[in-house]
């Protein structure tokens, strides 16, 4: 099994999770983070007399889903489609990270791995 973590624009998260379900994901969870990448941080006030500092202040959302390895390509593709903005995308559209998961357990039943997804 693999874990797919996608850092996406917050305004896209509802589309992304819909796409996940359509691609056959059994579940996911989302969390709000603050991120920086190619897209620069933004200037924010850090003092009242107009003192401005650059901070990694951009809100992003991480969508995490664990799926069977063979679903990887479909899921990644679904995420890309749902989170890319415009034809060619824009800086800050996000990143997808894939990493191995060695075991999954469903709390309710104790089922393991594929059966738990």
């Amino acid at each position: 099994m693999i874990k797919i973590e996608a850092v996406v624009r917050p305004e896209r998260v509802n589309l992304v999770v819909e796409a996940l379900i359509d691609a056959g994901c059994g579940g996911y969870h989302i969390a709000n983070v603050t991120g920086k990448g190619t897209q620069q941080g933004v200037e924010v006030f850090t003092g009242r007399g107009a003192t401005i500092t650059t901070r990694a202040a951009l809100p992003k959302t991480v969508v995490t889903t664990v799926v069977k390895a063979d679903k990887k390509d479909a899921v990644v593709e679904a995420i890309i489609v749902a989170s890319r903005t415009g034809e060619d995308g824009q800086i800050g559209d996000g990143k997808i990270f894939v990493s191995p998961v060695s075991e999954v357990i469903r709390v309710r039943t104790g089922e393991k791995d594929a059966a738990a997804l």
């Binding site: 917050p10 305004e11 896209r12 589309l15 603050t34 200037e43 924010v44 990694a56 951009l58």
Partner: protein, 398 residues
Amino acid sequence: MDSGSVAWMIMASALVLFMTPGLAFFYGGLVRGKNVVSTVMYSFVSMGVVSVVWVLWGYSLAFGEGGQFIGNFDFVGFKDVSSDPADGAMLFAIFQMMFAIITPALITGAIAERFKFTTYLVFLVAWITFVYAPIAHWVWAGDGWLFELGALDFAGGTVVHINAGIAAVVAAYLVGKRRGVDRGVEPHNVPFVILGAGILWFGWFGFNAGSGLAADGLAISAFLVTNTAAAVALVVWVILGHIHTGKMSAVGAATGAVAGLVAITPASGFVGPMGAIAVGLGAGVLTFYAVRIRYKFGFDDALEVMAVHGIGGIWGALATGIFAVGGIGLVDGDAEVLGYNVVAVLATIAYSFIVTFIILKILDVIPGLGLRAEDADEDAGLDIALHGERAYVGDGAD
């Protein structure tokens, strides 16, 4: 004005001023987390800009004795506006200032999450000058044509609510639909919505019960009917929402209360408790379905200003003509006031629509202004982009 009335009118003015931060929270809670500062600022900054405009020329334009359609410049800078209670002019001017502050703030519900803030500041000045002051003159100045005609608007159904509702339609149409809201928006902070509604309700006692300009029986009656209409419309919204969804929305309750308060505003000096219940019932049902119908139209009146203030205000103006007691309402067999109020409603709609449209069209083409924030700024959220502030900063990011 005796000292009791002075005491009440000072407080009433303070209460109406307090409504604007209340509105900031009502609206601020309804938007997405990335546009909270922006939404709150639309209201808060009006306390600054409009106060200044009002002192400098707004009051004079609205209440100077200039003729049927507009005041004059006699009271520029509050010159010759006497603070003597026997005269009452300054107290009246203060009280009216608070109405002028909140009215354009109401409009911002329609354009929230995308209107450019610098342009908004210019809009505030222009709109108070060219839209608000004239209509206020028509309706409330002794020589205003609607006042002379006999239209009755106790506390601002036309001047404040219909006016704001229509301007909201125009502004929402011209600034266009928000990006990325097709799936609907959940209010980001429901307690703030309730806080705002609570403050609005509290302040509205000043708004309506102050509009008789005295601590007397009329104020008492206006207080009662204000509370009653709000209560009824609150209950109506909760029940209608439950019928449609099986759930009881707090945002719905707050919206219903505000709708009731809007509708009773013009009527509050003229109807009794039973009339208030009727006004509240009508307001609840009409505004609830007005919101639902709004969805079918193309324009994105983000926080339902037209449905709540426009429709609520129109209903209130008509209801005044219907339920006014003392032999002047339709239920007492007299259709005259109703007729005059229809005229007042239509005149307000037409004037507000046209002049707001012109103002915004001009602002749109002035270099450096323009109505709408950049797409990238809208996506990132206006808070960071235009105000350099995040509404909430977690511990990890001081």
